[in-house]
Amino acid sequence: MLLAATNAAGSASGEVSRETFGNIPYGLEILFYVLAAGFVGLTAYLFTIRFLNWKRGGADDRSGYVAERAREFSRGMFMKTLLLDKRAGVMHSLLYYGFMVLFIGTITLEINNVSPVKFLVGNTYLAYSFILEIAGLALIAGLILAAARRYVLKPYRLGKTSPEDALILITLLAIAVSGFLAEGARIAVAGFPNFERWSFVGWATGKLLFSWMPHDGVVGVHRALWLLHFATFLLFLAILPITKVRHAITSPINLALHKRERPKGAMRPMPNLMEEEVETIGASAIEDFTWKQLYDTDACTVCGRCTSVCPANGTGKPLDPREIVLKVGEVMARTGGVATPVMVDQEITLTADTVFGRVSSDEVWSCTSCKACDENCPVGIEILDKILDMRRYLSLMESDFPTELGVAYKNLENSSNPWGMGQQSRAEWAEGLDVKVIEPGEPLESEYLYWVGCAGSFDDRNRRVARSTALLLKHAGVDFSILGPSELCTGDPARRSGNEYLFQMLAFQNIETLNEAGVKKVITHCPHCFNVMTNEYPQYGGEYEVIHHSELLQHLIDEGRLTPGDALAGKRIVLHDSCYLGRHNDIYEPPRKVVASIGGVQVLEMDRNRTKSFCCGAGGARMWMEERMGKKINVERTDEALGTEPDIIAVACPFCLVMLDDGAKERGRDDVKVGDLSMLIAASLDTGVQGVGLPGGG
């Protein structure tokens, strides 16, 4: 049907088939080839200048992992990632598969045309005709659904509708409709041979519109419609590189490029700043981004899934992850002399040749680094990396950061922890628990090092987590020691807020301490410490086997070394996913299993869970910044948790504990307890030991 598929009339011999350019004068056939070649060339040219634009970015190694890349590419081609949203999936499948079948059908017809042996004959031709009819109908149905979604139903995430969307929908619809019309005319020209009933839409169209016309008239109409159909396809080729339809090509490639040399929880490594002078840190000008970060912007489908799961956006902050992608793309296009997407307001003028001409620092600082955007983007765009690189620039090149963060930086510098507490008091939490502390310069003699983290060491509520964890480890016979005063902040708050310098200062000291003590295995209850030590310390020579306490507790319970009690029987417990455990490290099930192992409890889920879990608001060093705009993220999440009518909100992260406990207090719900996994297990055992389990008993 599409293109050439509509061109044929029944062959003179009366054979069941058709001629590719039937009824099309030789001149038009030549024009067809010339224009088709010309437009393919134009499209290629437009893609090439975009390609040159991507090349402005810095290095980013995306080699290797061939099998994985091939798998991701095919997932992209078959839209596996898109189908996660059922409604959008049906719409997009009809549209995309309809179009692809028609496109392949057209190419098949052309192959049949030039091939000495004709294969589109007899039953093969009939089946071919029939399949293409179905595909055409699917395309039209998909387009109607798409238009209905965009213009009538308007789901929240499609909020960004522009003339570009209409242009794309109309072009595709024109292709489908002109195709059916031309087909109808072709069948009419051939005098409605019986076998063409298999092209049932074309047949009906022909009967309806053209059966009354004199033959000469139909011949003329057919030629005109054929030209129209051809023109719509040329239009499609023209808009392919310059509108978001290009994602049909760029997105599967983007998925193939997704896998990178570092784990997904790791930020882009930077050279050792203690030894090397670096000219710019982070990203401001387009050239400061990597080529992949720039390529990403041309793969965006503007679907808005990132925005729909963003906790900052959802609570009224100025940050919109989709805008971050598009704005970087706009600045890239503007500064590179390439067409900006049609939708972009052409009036926008850049105040500077940097992304900060379009992106405000408020946007950049609103991010909690929760990674919900990245994990929910159907085409694998890496949004968080861009934001964090911009933070690096703001923090170290411009010193443009919220003032409260300055206090945290000072505390990290002077006291090696963001609370600014005396390092000497680091082990005080362990009072009365008989925990071994490694003296400076001494080797670790236990199997594990328990890395307590700043929150577990200094924050009152979180000391309970450390105490509960230590008690359970002893209970299960796990041999461990702590570093006490020689443990420093891992540097996570510094790194996530862009202060790479401070991060490296802390990281190098910690790695030296750990390596000197011969530490191999580390237990930690903090997902942020876990992430940094697992994924980022290897960038600077610190290689350890780090286990988060959720996994260790699950393991101990599975092995029968730890048996939770039933003191919490009858309680309703809802689990909140930690971003740095879940999305950054794919640990979703162990915390659930640990909670479920407690005797007689009922485990509840919030609607937004696992990859779609809503951040507590503390990540990305947001813990150390004021939240001045919009609804408080922690209150939003607490409200969601309270909606499940729990007795207890279970968390697996010290910062989630603080945020959700504050949220429950703000809502006046002292009856609902917030507790870390270790606190829950300890509470279920009801040991009587002070400072473990849930506060206030229960």
Partner: protein
Amino acid sequence: MASWYDLRVFCTEGLGGNPLAVFTEPVEDMRATAAAIGYSETVFLGGEPSSRAGVRTARIFTPEGEIPFAGHPIVGAAWLFEELAGNPVNRLVVPYGEIEAWRVGDRAYLRSEPPEVGGASDDPFSVVEALRADPADLTPRLPIARCGHGARWTFVPFAEPQRVLELEPDFDMVKGVAEVGLYCFAMRGDEVTSRCFAPSVGIAEDPGTGSAALALMAYLARFSRRSPSELTVNQTECRIDVSMNERGIVIGGEVVLDGVRS
């Protein structure tokens, strides 16, 4: 005399604590034996052994005679069971009834339902006089009241920990005003400083009174506006952990075995 275990209960990192003698073999005259040792309490285990796993029986004697319930002997006995047999004990049957008791590391604990608060009231003036204290040293936020399992302690709330430490009571008068003894305390957050005078049961000053610490929690739950869920009681040389939840009140602390004597 049969050999016995010499323990200290409610210690602080190995130091201090309330001495306890524990006999694991049958003894003819328990009362005389307890008087001869002279510790505030002596425990005799396994009077009538129970067939249920983790359940043991015990009887508690002061130098004056048998008492139905006491904190530090039960905590010490629960600790010692695991030390000797490696078998965790989870219940002790004493004349008062069956008490949940268990060991965690170098500590042991017991749980009890909260005792009744109130009943007979004391005359504040004679209590203060017996303690030779200044009435102005008491905190007006809490009342003088009685609370305890069976024998009830009289709780006397002071404003300043220092005043409690300085008390020099008139023991003859204390005998006259108290049902069992006067428990004087002051609070700083969840830290309690206390002293316990019980001349009427033959103990002028008890170094660490578990049953009173337990009753203190019930007393605070009733009268304190902040009703804490965890307390650390510092009584002379002893440190007692107290906590309360829906399942009852738990007291416990560190136990040290000083040796076997005979």
